[in-house]
Protein backbone atom coordinates (compact mmCIF):
# COMPACT_ATOMS: atom_id res chain seq x y z
CA UNK A 1 0.00 0.00 0.00
CA UNK A 2 1.42 3.40 -0.97
CA UNK A 3 1.79 6.24 1.54
CA UNK A 4 -1.08 8.11 -0.12
CA UNK A 5 -3.34 5.03 0.10
CA UNK A 6 -2.40 4.65 3.76
CA UNK A 7 -3.28 8.28 4.32
CA UNK A 8 -6.64 7.75 2.62
CA UNK A 9 -7.40 4.77 4.83
CA UNK A 10 -6.55 6.80 7.90
CA UNK A 11 -8.69 9.70 6.70
CA UNK A 12 -11.67 7.35 6.33
CA UNK A 13 -11.14 6.01 9.85
CA UNK A 14 -10.87 9.53 11.26
CA UNK A 15 -13.66 10.99 9.10
CA UNK A 16 -11.40 13.63 7.55
CA UNK A 17 -12.37 15.40 4.29
CA UNK A 18 -8.93 14.96 2.78
CA UNK A 19 -9.80 16.30 -0.69
CA UNK A 20 -12.05 19.22 -1.47
CA UNK A 21 -12.97 20.56 -4.89
CA UNK A 22 -13.96 24.22 -4.66
CA UNK A 23 -15.50 25.92 -7.67
CA UNK A 24 -14.78 29.61 -7.13
CA UNK A 25 -17.08 30.67 -9.97
CA UNK A 26 -19.35 29.21 -12.64
CA UNK A 27 -18.66 32.16 -14.94
CA UNK A 28 -16.57 31.25 -17.95
CA UNK A 29 -15.08 32.81 -21.06
CA UNK A 30 -15.80 29.65 -23.04
CA UNK A 31 -19.19 28.12 -23.81
CA UNK A 32 -18.31 24.46 -24.20
CA UNK A 33 -21.09 22.50 -25.86
CA UNK A 34 -20.95 19.71 -23.24
CA UNK A 35 -20.69 21.92 -20.14
CA UNK A 36 -23.05 21.05 -17.28
CA UNK A 37 -22.98 24.48 -15.62
CA UNK A 38 -25.16 27.59 -15.61
CA UNK A 39 -22.62 30.36 -16.24
CA UNK A 40 -24.68 33.23 -14.82
CA UNK A 41 -23.58 34.57 -11.45
CA UNK A 42 -26.35 33.86 -8.93
CA UNK A 43 -24.44 35.31 -5.97
CA UNK A 44 -20.95 33.86 -5.69
CA UNK A 45 -19.20 33.79 -2.35
CA UNK A 46 -17.16 36.91 -1.68
CA UNK A 47 -13.40 36.85 -1.22
CA UNK A 48 -13.90 36.99 2.53
CA UNK A 49 -16.44 34.17 2.51
CA UNK A 50 -14.09 31.97 0.52
CA UNK A 51 -11.21 32.72 2.90
CA UNK A 52 -13.44 31.72 5.81
CA UNK A 53 -14.31 28.47 4.04
CA UNK A 54 -10.60 27.80 3.45
CA UNK A 55 -9.91 28.38 7.15
CA UNK A 56 -12.64 25.87 7.98
CA UNK A 57 -11.30 23.31 5.51
CA UNK A 58 -7.78 23.60 6.96
CA UNK A 59 -9.24 23.12 10.42
CA UNK A 60 -11.19 20.06 9.23
CA UNK A 61 -7.93 18.53 7.92
CA UNK A 62 -8.33 19.01 4.17
CA UNK A 63 -5.00 18.54 2.42
CA UNK A 64 -5.78 18.35 -1.33
CA UNK A 65 -7.59 21.42 -2.64
CA UNK A 66 -8.72 21.68 -6.25
CA UNK A 67 -9.66 25.19 -7.37
CA UNK A 68 -11.87 25.10 -10.40
CA UNK A 69 -14.87 26.65 -12.12
CA UNK A 70 -16.22 27.93 -14.53
CA UNK A 71 -12.97 29.59 -15.34
CA UNK A 72 -11.08 30.43 -12.16
CA UNK A 73 -9.43 33.49 -13.65
CA UNK A 74 -12.81 35.12 -14.31
CA UNK A 75 -12.54 36.09 -10.64
CA UNK A 76 -10.39 39.18 -10.24
CA UNK A 77 -9.53 38.01 -6.73
CA UNK A 78 -8.38 34.58 -7.85
CA UNK A 79 -4.73 35.12 -6.95
CA UNK A 80 -5.73 36.53 -3.57
CA UNK A 81 -7.71 33.32 -2.95
CA UNK A 82 -4.84 31.19 -4.21
CA UNK A 83 -2.30 33.00 -2.08
CA UNK A 84 -4.49 32.58 0.96
CA UNK A 85 -4.99 28.87 0.24
CA UNK A 86 -1.26 28.34 -0.07
CA UNK A 87 -0.62 30.26 3.14
CA UNK A 88 -2.80 27.59 4.77
CA UNK A 89 -0.51 24.94 3.25
CA UNK A 90 -3.08 23.20 1.07
CA UNK A 91 -1.78 21.11 -1.79
CA UNK A 92 -3.38 23.15 -4.57
CA UNK A 93 -4.33 21.95 -8.01
CA UNK A 94 -5.99 24.27 -10.50
CA UNK A 95 -8.38 23.39 -13.31
CA UNK A 96 -8.57 26.05 -16.00
CA UNK A 97 -8.95 26.50 -19.73
CA UNK A 98 -5.73 28.50 -19.68
CA UNK A 99 -7.03 31.20 -22.00
CA UNK A 100 -6.15 33.97 -19.52
CA UNK A 101 -2.80 32.53 -18.44
CA UNK A 102 0.21 34.43 -19.77
CA UNK A 103 3.77 34.43 -18.50
CA UNK A 104 3.02 36.61 -15.47
CA UNK A 105 0.14 34.39 -14.29
CA UNK A 106 2.22 31.25 -14.85
CA UNK A 107 5.10 32.66 -12.82
CA UNK A 108 2.75 33.65 -10.03
CA UNK A 109 1.27 30.14 -9.85
CA UNK A 110 4.75 28.64 -9.63
CA UNK A 111 5.85 31.10 -6.97
CA UNK A 112 2.77 30.30 -4.93
CA UNK A 113 3.66 26.60 -4.96
CA UNK A 114 0.75 25.27 -7.03
CA UNK A 115 1.33 21.56 -7.52
CA UNK A 116 -0.43 21.04 -10.81
CA UNK A 117 -2.53 22.80 -13.42
CA UNK A 118 -5.06 20.91 -15.52
CA UNK A 119 -6.08 22.38 -18.86
CA UNK A 120 -8.85 21.07 -21.09
CA UNK A 121 -7.85 20.42 -24.69
CA UNK A 122 -10.46 18.84 -26.94
CA UNK A 123 -8.56 18.50 -30.18
CA UNK A 124 -5.22 19.20 -31.81
CA UNK A 125 -7.21 20.83 -34.64
CA UNK A 126 -8.15 24.47 -33.94
CA UNK A 127 -11.44 24.23 -35.85
CA UNK A 128 -12.63 21.25 -33.77
CA UNK A 129 -11.41 22.57 -30.40
CA UNK A 130 -12.75 26.08 -30.99
CA UNK A 131 -16.11 24.73 -32.20
CA UNK A 132 -16.49 22.87 -28.89
CA UNK A 133 -15.45 25.85 -26.71
CA UNK A 134 -17.27 28.33 -28.99
CA UNK A 135 -14.36 30.72 -28.44
CA UNK A 136 -12.36 31.48 -31.59
CA UNK A 137 -8.61 31.20 -31.02
CA UNK A 138 -9.05 29.28 -27.77
CA UNK A 139 -6.83 26.33 -28.74
CA UNK A 140 -3.97 28.68 -29.57
CA UNK A 141 -4.39 30.52 -26.26
CA UNK A 142 -4.66 27.32 -24.21
CA UNK A 143 -1.55 25.84 -25.84
CA UNK A 144 0.37 29.05 -25.19
CA UNK A 145 -0.69 28.81 -21.55
CA UNK A 146 0.64 25.27 -21.34
CA UNK A 147 3.98 26.44 -22.74
CA UNK A 148 4.13 29.34 -20.26
CA UNK A 149 3.39 27.00 -17.36
CA UNK A 150 5.82 24.33 -18.52
CA UNK A 151 8.57 26.91 -19.04
CA UNK A 152 8.13 27.95 -15.40
CA UNK A 153 8.50 24.34 -14.31
CA UNK A 154 4.85 23.76 -13.39
CA UNK A 155 3.31 20.37 -13.99
CA UNK A 156 0.52 20.46 -16.56
CA UNK A 157 -2.11 17.83 -17.22
CA UNK A 158 -4.05 17.96 -20.46
CA UNK A 159 -7.60 16.75 -19.89
CA UNK A 160 -9.26 15.46 -23.03
CA UNK A 161 -13.02 15.06 -22.70
CA UNK A 162 -14.22 12.87 -25.52
CA UNK A 163 -17.54 13.45 -27.28
CA UNK A 164 -19.02 12.97 -30.73
CA UNK A 165 -17.38 16.10 -32.16
CA UNK A 166 -13.82 15.07 -31.27
CA UNK A 167 -14.09 11.29 -31.07
CA UNK A 168 -11.29 10.78 -33.60
CA UNK A 169 -8.88 13.29 -32.09
CA UNK A 170 -7.56 11.67 -28.91
CA UNK A 171 -4.42 10.39 -30.60
CA UNK A 172 -3.68 13.91 -31.87
CA UNK A 173 -4.19 15.43 -28.41
CA UNK A 174 -2.08 12.72 -26.82
CA UNK A 175 0.72 13.42 -29.30
CA UNK A 176 0.40 17.12 -28.53
CA UNK A 177 0.73 16.40 -24.80
CA UNK A 178 3.89 14.38 -25.44
CA UNK A 179 5.33 17.18 -27.56
CA UNK A 180 4.56 19.74 -24.83
CA UNK A 181 5.87 17.53 -22.01
CA UNK A 182 2.45 17.48 -20.33
CA UNK A 183 0.60 14.53 -18.81
CA UNK A 184 -2.52 13.35 -20.59
CA UNK A 185 -5.84 12.12 -19.27
CA UNK A 186 -8.88 11.12 -21.28
CA UNK A 187 -12.45 11.16 -20.05
CA UNK A 188 -15.30 9.80 -22.18
CA UNK A 189 -17.97 10.82 -19.64
CA UNK A 190 -20.48 13.53 -20.45
CA UNK A 191 -22.62 14.28 -17.41
CA UNK A 192 -26.12 15.77 -17.19
CA UNK A 193 -26.40 19.47 -16.40
CA UNK A 194 -26.51 20.33 -12.72
CA UNK A 195 -30.21 21.22 -13.01
CA UNK A 196 -30.92 17.69 -14.22
CA UNK A 197 -31.20 18.55 -17.93
CA UNK A 198 -29.99 15.50 -19.85
CA UNK A 199 -30.04 17.02 -23.34
CA UNK A 200 -26.23 17.10 -23.58
CA UNK A 201 -25.99 13.34 -23.07
CA UNK A 202 -26.55 13.04 -26.83
CA UNK A 203 -22.95 14.22 -27.18
CA UNK A 204 -21.63 10.99 -25.64
CA UNK A 205 -19.57 8.86 -28.02
CA UNK A 206 -21.19 5.72 -29.40
CA UNK A 207 -20.72 2.27 -27.93
CA UNK A 208 -18.43 1.25 -30.79
CA UNK A 209 -16.24 4.35 -30.32
CA UNK A 210 -16.10 3.68 -26.59
CA UNK A 211 -15.15 0.07 -27.33
CA UNK A 212 -12.25 1.26 -29.52
CA UNK A 213 -11.06 3.70 -26.84
CA UNK A 214 -11.16 1.11 -24.06
CA UNK A 215 -9.17 -1.33 -26.18
CA UNK A 216 -6.53 1.14 -27.29
CA UNK A 217 -3.16 0.23 -25.69
CA UNK A 218 -1.96 3.84 -26.02
CA UNK A 219 -4.78 4.85 -23.70
CA UNK A 220 -5.26 1.92 -21.34
CA UNK A 221 -1.89 0.16 -21.29
CA UNK A 222 -2.18 -3.61 -21.12
CA UNK A 223 -5.44 -4.28 -22.99
CA UNK A 224 -5.66 -7.94 -22.00
CA UNK A 225 -5.43 -7.04 -18.34
CA UNK A 226 -7.64 -3.94 -18.62
CA UNK A 227 -10.39 -5.77 -20.49
CA UNK A 228 -10.22 -9.07 -18.58
CA UNK A 229 -13.51 -10.52 -17.29
CA UNK A 230 -14.08 -9.44 -13.68
CA UNK A 231 -13.07 -11.92 -10.96
CA UNK A 232 -15.81 -13.04 -8.53
CA UNK A 233 -16.18 -10.39 -5.82
CA UNK A 234 -15.04 -11.23 -2.29
CA UNK A 235 -16.39 -9.88 0.99
CA UNK A 236 -13.88 -7.04 0.87
CA UNK A 237 -15.55 -5.81 -2.33
CA UNK A 238 -19.11 -6.34 -1.09
CA UNK A 239 -18.34 -4.54 2.18
CA UNK A 240 -16.47 -1.75 0.40
CA UNK A 241 -17.82 1.69 -0.41
CA UNK A 242 -18.31 2.84 -4.00
CA UNK A 243 -15.94 5.86 -4.14
CA UNK A 244 -14.41 8.58 -1.99
CA UNK A 245 -17.30 11.06 -2.51
CA UNK A 246 -18.64 12.00 0.91
CA UNK A 247 -16.13 9.72 2.66
CA UNK A 248 -12.87 11.64 2.20
CA UNK A 249 -13.92 14.00 -0.58
CA UNK A 250 -16.32 16.92 -0.87
CA UNK A 251 -17.34 19.58 -3.34
CA UNK A 252 -18.25 23.22 -2.65
CA UNK A 253 -20.03 25.36 -5.23
CA UNK A 254 -19.43 29.11 -5.73
CA UNK A 255 -22.65 29.67 -3.77
CA UNK A 256 -21.47 27.68 -0.78
CA UNK A 257 -23.47 24.52 -1.42
CA UNK A 258 -21.72 21.40 -0.20
CA UNK A 259 -22.08 18.18 -2.18
CA UNK A 260 -20.22 14.87 -1.94
CA UNK A 261 -18.62 15.51 -5.35
CA UNK A 262 -18.83 17.90 -8.29
CA UNK A 263 -20.65 15.11 -10.11
CA UNK A 264 -22.97 14.26 -7.23
CA UNK A 265 -25.50 17.05 -6.52
CA UNK A 266 -26.88 15.51 -3.32
CA UNK A 267 -27.71 18.51 -1.09
CA UNK A 268 -25.94 18.28 2.27
CA UNK A 269 -25.75 21.88 3.45
CA UNK A 270 -24.42 25.36 2.72
CA UNK A 271 -21.36 26.99 4.26
CA UNK A 272 -23.15 30.33 4.33
CA UNK A 273 -25.56 28.86 6.88
CA UNK A 274 -23.40 26.33 8.72
CA UNK A 275 -19.75 25.62 9.40
CA UNK A 276 -18.26 23.18 6.91
CA UNK A 277 -17.29 20.79 9.71
CA UNK A 278 -20.87 20.68 11.02
CA UNK A 279 -22.14 19.78 7.55
CA UNK A 280 -19.40 17.19 7.09
CA UNK A 281 -20.04 15.57 10.46
CA UNK A 282 -23.79 15.99 10.91
CA UNK A 283 -25.51 16.02 7.51
CA UNK A 284 -28.13 13.21 7.43
CA UNK A 285 -27.61 12.91 3.66
CA UNK A 286 -23.88 12.31 4.15
CA UNK A 287 -24.58 9.81 6.92
CA UNK A 288 -26.88 7.92 4.59
CA UNK A 289 -24.35 8.00 1.77
CA UNK A 290 -21.58 6.73 4.04
CA UNK A 291 -23.73 3.81 5.19
CA UNK A 292 -24.00 2.39 1.65
CA UNK A 293 -21.85 -0.62 0.84
CA UNK A 294 -21.61 -2.52 -2.44
CA UNK A 295 -23.84 -5.26 -1.02
CA UNK A 296 -26.58 -2.65 -0.45
CA UNK A 297 -26.88 -1.82 -4.16
CA UNK A 298 -29.97 -3.73 -5.29
CA UNK A 299 -28.92 -4.22 -8.91
CA UNK A 300 -25.14 -3.70 -8.87
CA UNK A 301 -24.57 -6.16 -6.00
CA UNK A 302 -25.83 -8.91 -8.31
CA UNK A 303 -23.61 -7.77 -11.20
CA UNK A 304 -20.42 -9.60 -12.17
CA UNK A 305 -18.76 -6.20 -12.65
CA UNK A 306 -19.37 -5.06 -9.06
CA UNK A 307 -15.69 -5.26 -8.08
CA UNK A 308 -14.21 -3.63 -11.17
CA UNK A 309 -16.90 -1.22 -12.42
CA UNK A 310 -16.20 2.50 -12.29
CA UNK A 311 -19.80 3.01 -11.10
CA UNK A 312 -20.28 6.66 -10.20
CA UNK A 313 -22.83 7.08 -7.38
CA UNK A 314 -23.31 10.69 -8.49
CA UNK A 315 -24.35 9.69 -11.99
CA UNK A 316 -26.61 7.03 -10.46
CA UNK A 317 -28.13 9.73 -8.24
CA UNK A 318 -28.74 11.92 -11.29
CA UNK A 319 -30.48 8.94 -12.89
CA UNK A 320 -32.82 8.87 -9.89
CA UNK A 321 -31.27 6.60 -7.25
CA UNK A 322 -27.85 6.78 -5.62
CA UNK A 323 -28.09 3.06 -4.87
CA UNK A 324 -28.93 2.31 -8.48
CA UNK A 325 -26.73 1.66 -11.49
CA UNK A 326 -25.07 4.38 -13.54
CA UNK A 327 -25.87 3.41 -17.10
CA UNK A 328 -22.81 5.21 -18.49
CA UNK A 329 -20.61 3.00 -16.31
CA UNK A 330 -22.62 -0.11 -17.23
CA UNK A 331 -21.84 0.73 -20.85
CA UNK A 332 -18.14 1.17 -20.07
CA UNK A 333 -17.96 -2.16 -18.25
CA UNK A 334 -19.72 -3.84 -21.16
CA UNK A 335 -17.57 -2.24 -23.86
CA UNK A 336 -14.42 -3.03 -21.87
CA UNK A 337 -15.14 -6.72 -21.26
CA UNK A 338 -17.93 -7.71 -23.65
CA UNK A 339 -19.97 -8.90 -20.64
CA UNK A 340 -23.32 -7.16 -20.16
CA UNK A 341 -24.02 -5.67 -16.75
CA UNK A 342 -26.83 -6.93 -14.50
CA UNK A 343 -28.68 -3.69 -15.26
CA UNK A 344 -28.42 -4.30 -19.02
CA UNK A 345 -29.69 -7.87 -18.65
CA UNK A 346 -32.53 -6.68 -16.43
CA UNK A 347 -33.58 -4.07 -19.00
CA UNK A 348 -33.39 -6.61 -21.82
CA UNK A 349 -35.66 -8.97 -19.86
CA UNK A 350 -38.12 -6.17 -19.15
CA UNK A 351 -38.23 -5.18 -22.81
CA UNK A 352 -38.78 -8.80 -23.92
CA UNK A 353 -41.56 -9.51 -21.43
CA UNK A 354 -44.29 -7.24 -22.78
CA UNK A 355 -47.94 -8.39 -22.63
CA UNK A 356 -48.99 -10.99 -25.18
CA UNK A 357 -52.20 -9.14 -26.03
CA UNK A 358 -52.78 -5.43 -25.48
CA UNK A 359 -56.35 -4.21 -25.11
CA UNK A 360 -57.38 -0.60 -25.17
CA UNK A 361 -60.91 0.57 -24.42
CA UNK A 362 -62.77 1.69 -27.56
CA UNK A 363 -63.54 5.10 -26.05
CA UNK A 364 -59.85 5.95 -25.93
CA UNK A 365 -59.16 5.20 -29.63
Amino acid sequence: MSLVQEMNERAIELGVPLSVHLDVTYRCNERCVHCYLDHDDHGEMTTQEIKQVLDQLAEAGTFFLTLSGGEVLMRRDFFEILEYARSLRFNVRIKTNGVMIRKAEARRMVNLGVEQVQISIYSHRPDVHDAITKLPGSLKRSLEAIRFLQSQGLKVVIANVLMTANRQDHAGVQALARELGASYTLDPTITPKMDGDTSILGLRISGSDLHAVLRNPDLVGNVEEFCAPPPPPGDDIMDGYPCSAGHTAAYISPYGDVFPCVQFPLPTGNVRKQKFKEIWQDSPALHELRSIRARDLPVCSTCSHVGTCTRCPGLAYMEGNMRGPSTADCEQSFQRTGIPSANMLRKARTNASGPLIQIQAAAAI
Binding site: L3, V4, R10, A58, G61, R89, V92, E115, Q116
Partner: protein
Protein backbone atom coordinates in the same frame (compact mmCIF):
# COMPACT_ATOMS: atom_id res chain seq x y z
CA UNK B 1 25.35 21.69 15.33
CA UNK B 2 24.23 24.18 17.96
CA UNK B 3 24.45 27.03 15.47
CA UNK B 4 22.27 25.47 12.80
CA UNK B 5 18.79 26.69 11.89
CA UNK B 6 16.10 24.85 9.96
CA UNK B 7 13.00 26.16 8.18
CA UNK B 8 10.15 24.63 6.22
CA UNK B 9 10.23 25.36 2.49
CA UNK B 10 7.36 27.42 1.10
CA UNK B 11 7.03 24.98 -1.82
CA UNK B 12 5.27 22.33 0.23
CA UNK B 13 1.80 21.40 1.40
CA UNK B 14 1.41 20.10 4.92
CA UNK B 15 -1.36 18.95 7.22
CA UNK B 16 -1.73 16.95 10.41
CA UNK B 17 -3.64 13.69 10.12
CA UNK B 18 -4.15 11.59 13.23
CA UNK B 19 -1.07 12.93 15.00
CA UNK B 20 1.24 12.59 12.01
CA UNK B 21 2.28 15.28 9.57
CA UNK B 22 1.66 14.77 5.85
CA UNK B 23 3.88 16.75 3.53
CA UNK B 24 3.88 17.00 -0.24
CA UNK B 25 6.47 18.79 -2.30
CA UNK B 26 4.90 20.92 -5.03
CA UNK B 27 8.17 20.70 -6.95
CA UNK B 28 8.18 16.96 -7.57
CA UNK B 29 4.91 15.78 -5.90
CA UNK B 30 6.85 13.55 -3.52
CA UNK B 31 4.77 12.63 -0.49
CA UNK B 32 6.13 12.27 3.04
CA UNK B 33 4.65 11.37 6.40
CA UNK B 34 6.40 12.25 9.63
CA UNK B 35 6.13 10.31 12.86
CA UNK B 36 5.40 12.01 16.15
CA UNK B 37 9.02 12.97 16.90
CA UNK B 38 9.67 14.22 13.36
CA UNK B 39 6.41 16.18 13.49
CA UNK B 40 7.59 18.06 16.58
CA UNK B 41 10.87 18.92 14.86
CA UNK B 42 8.98 20.01 11.73
CA UNK B 43 6.66 22.28 13.66
CA UNK B 44 9.63 23.84 15.44
CA UNK B 45 11.47 24.45 12.15
CA UNK B 46 10.66 28.15 12.00
CA UNK B 47 14.09 29.33 10.88
CA UNK B 48 14.63 31.21 14.13
CA UNK B 49 14.92 28.45 16.72
CA UNK B 50 18.42 26.93 16.83
CA UNK B 51 18.50 23.18 16.26
CA UNK B 52 20.11 22.72 19.67
CA UNK B 53 17.03 24.27 21.26
CA UNK B 54 14.76 21.95 19.27
CA UNK B 55 16.83 18.99 20.51
CA UNK B 56 16.40 20.16 24.10
CA UNK B 57 12.63 20.31 23.55
CA UNK B 58 12.67 16.72 22.27
CA UNK B 59 14.59 15.59 25.35
CA UNK B 60 12.01 17.01 27.71
CA UNK B 61 8.92 16.15 25.64
CA UNK B 62 9.80 12.54 24.87
CA UNK B 63 12.01 11.88 27.90
CA UNK B 64 14.88 10.59 25.76
CA UNK B 65 18.62 10.87 26.23
CA UNK B 66 20.14 13.99 24.64
CA UNK B 67 22.27 11.89 22.27
CA UNK B 68 19.15 10.04 21.03
CA UNK B 69 17.30 13.32 20.42
CA UNK B 70 20.37 14.73 18.69
CA UNK B 71 20.63 11.68 16.44
CA UNK B 72 16.91 11.92 15.54
CA UNK B 73 17.20 15.61 14.74
CA UNK B 74 20.32 15.02 12.67
CA UNK B 75 18.61 12.24 10.73
CA UNK B 76 15.55 14.43 10.18
CA UNK B 77 17.72 17.15 8.66
CA UNK B 78 19.75 14.68 6.58
CA UNK B 79 16.61 12.98 5.26
CA UNK B 80 14.56 16.04 4.34
CA UNK B 81 17.01 18.76 3.34
CA UNK B 82 18.27 17.03 0.14
CA UNK B 83 14.68 17.11 -1.16
CA UNK B 84 14.43 20.86 -0.77
CA UNK B 85 11.49 20.75 1.62
CA UNK B 86 13.64 21.74 4.61
CA UNK B 87 16.06 24.65 4.48
CA UNK B 88 19.23 24.50 6.59
CA UNK B 89 21.56 27.36 7.41
CA UNK B 90 24.19 28.46 9.90
CA UNK B 91 22.19 31.68 10.32
CA UNK B 92 18.51 32.34 11.12
CA UNK B 93 16.28 31.92 8.06
CA UNK B 94 13.53 34.34 7.07
CA UNK B 95 10.08 32.91 7.79
CA UNK B 96 8.77 30.94 4.83
CA UNK B 97 5.48 29.88 6.36
CA UNK B 98 3.03 32.80 6.60
CA UNK B 99 0.54 30.86 8.72
CA UNK B 100 0.67 27.64 10.60
CA UNK B 101 -2.70 26.08 9.79
CA UNK B 102 -0.91 22.81 9.07
CA UNK B 103 -1.00 22.19 12.78
CA UNK B 104 -4.81 21.98 12.71
Amino acid sequence: MSDRYIARSSAIAARMLGGEMMIMSSVDSTFYTLNEVATVIWQAADGRTPLSEIVSALVSQFEVEPEVALRDAQQFVDDLSPHGILLVSDHPIADSSPRSAETA
